[in-house]
């Protein structure tokens, strides 16, 4: 059965500490930019309901942090969220559908995101 992602579902994304503005804690739009942004933009996120935040962080790199946003946010700006489970992470999803205004879309995703406090994770 295909897992349904509701608008109210939270999505996690791993970011580096450099993606937070030091003075305000705001998330930079670059936190949602992908490597192949012009050719095949696809942003990895994790469905919170199926993901242990500590495990998501452990699967990343030291000094990474976790931010969260609701699935309604990408959908409201013309993007879509697909579940794309991996061998290790069943809650892995991708945000797809970026258009010519992809920088605006990244900024809107970032502005709607907030830091998730994960016990035991590194904070600077």
């Amino acid at each position: 059965m295909t897992e349904r992602i509701d608008d109210g579902d939270d999505l996690f994304r791993r970011i580096l500490e450099y993606h937070r503005v030091p003075a305000t804690g705001r998330i930079s739009s670059s936190a949602f930019m992908g490597k192949g942004r012009r050719l095949d933009p696809e942003v990895s996120v994790f469905l919170a309901r199926l993901s242990d935040p500590a495990k998501v962080l452990r699967a990343g790199l030291p000094r990474q942090q976790l931010v969260a946003l609701q699935a309604a946010v990408p959908r409201a700006i013309g993007l879509d969220v697909h579940l794309q489970p991996t061998e290790d992470v069943v809650g892995h999803c991708v945000i797809v559908g970026f258009g010519l205004n992809w920088k605006e879309q990244c900024a809107r995703l970032a502005d709607a995101s907030h830091l998730v406090e994960v016990p035991g994770s590194v904070r600077e």
Partner: protein, 131 residues
């Protein structure tokens, strides 16, 4: 959302850039490229050029609010004005792109380009800081 006061020394911004320039490949655990030498040079040059430009306009040598890596090997610098914000991308090939958010919250208007000449970027930074 709180707005930080403008940083008038370039040293913290340049120090942060040096740290980011040292990121290894795969710094995001998703296969990111390390910051390219051309992107780091372009970002450093822009920090100095924007500060010089603002000093000529008697605003002081204003540093970017923040900087961050982009997975394609580029870097992003941000300047925040009272009512607008500009994100400038130093692309892996040394060119610049930008996103400007004019206004705040729901009434904001966005303007973006994947490539833009330095003089256009400097003019936009000036407009953002003056907004």
């Amino acid at each position: 959302m709180a707005i930080a006061p403008p940083q008038l020394s370039l040293l913290p911004a340049l120090k942060r850039l040096v740290e980011i320039a040292d990121l290894p490949a795969d710094w995001d655990a998703e296969g990111a490229d390390p910051p390219s030498a051309k992107a780091v040079a372009a970002a450093s040059y822009l920090i100095e050029a924007a500060a010089d430009d603002q000093e000529r306009r008697a605003r002081g040598r204003i540093a970017p609010t923040t900087s961050s890596p982009i997975p394609d090997g580029g870097l992003q610098l941000e300047w925040q004005g009272p009512g607008a914000r500009i994100d400038v991308q130093a692309n892996p090939d040394g060119s610049y792109g930008y996103l400007v958010k004019w206004g705040r919250d729901d009434s904001a208007r966005y303007e973006e380009a994947d490539e833009a000449p330095l003089d256009i970027v400097l003019a936009l930074i000036d407009r953002v800081l003056g907004q």
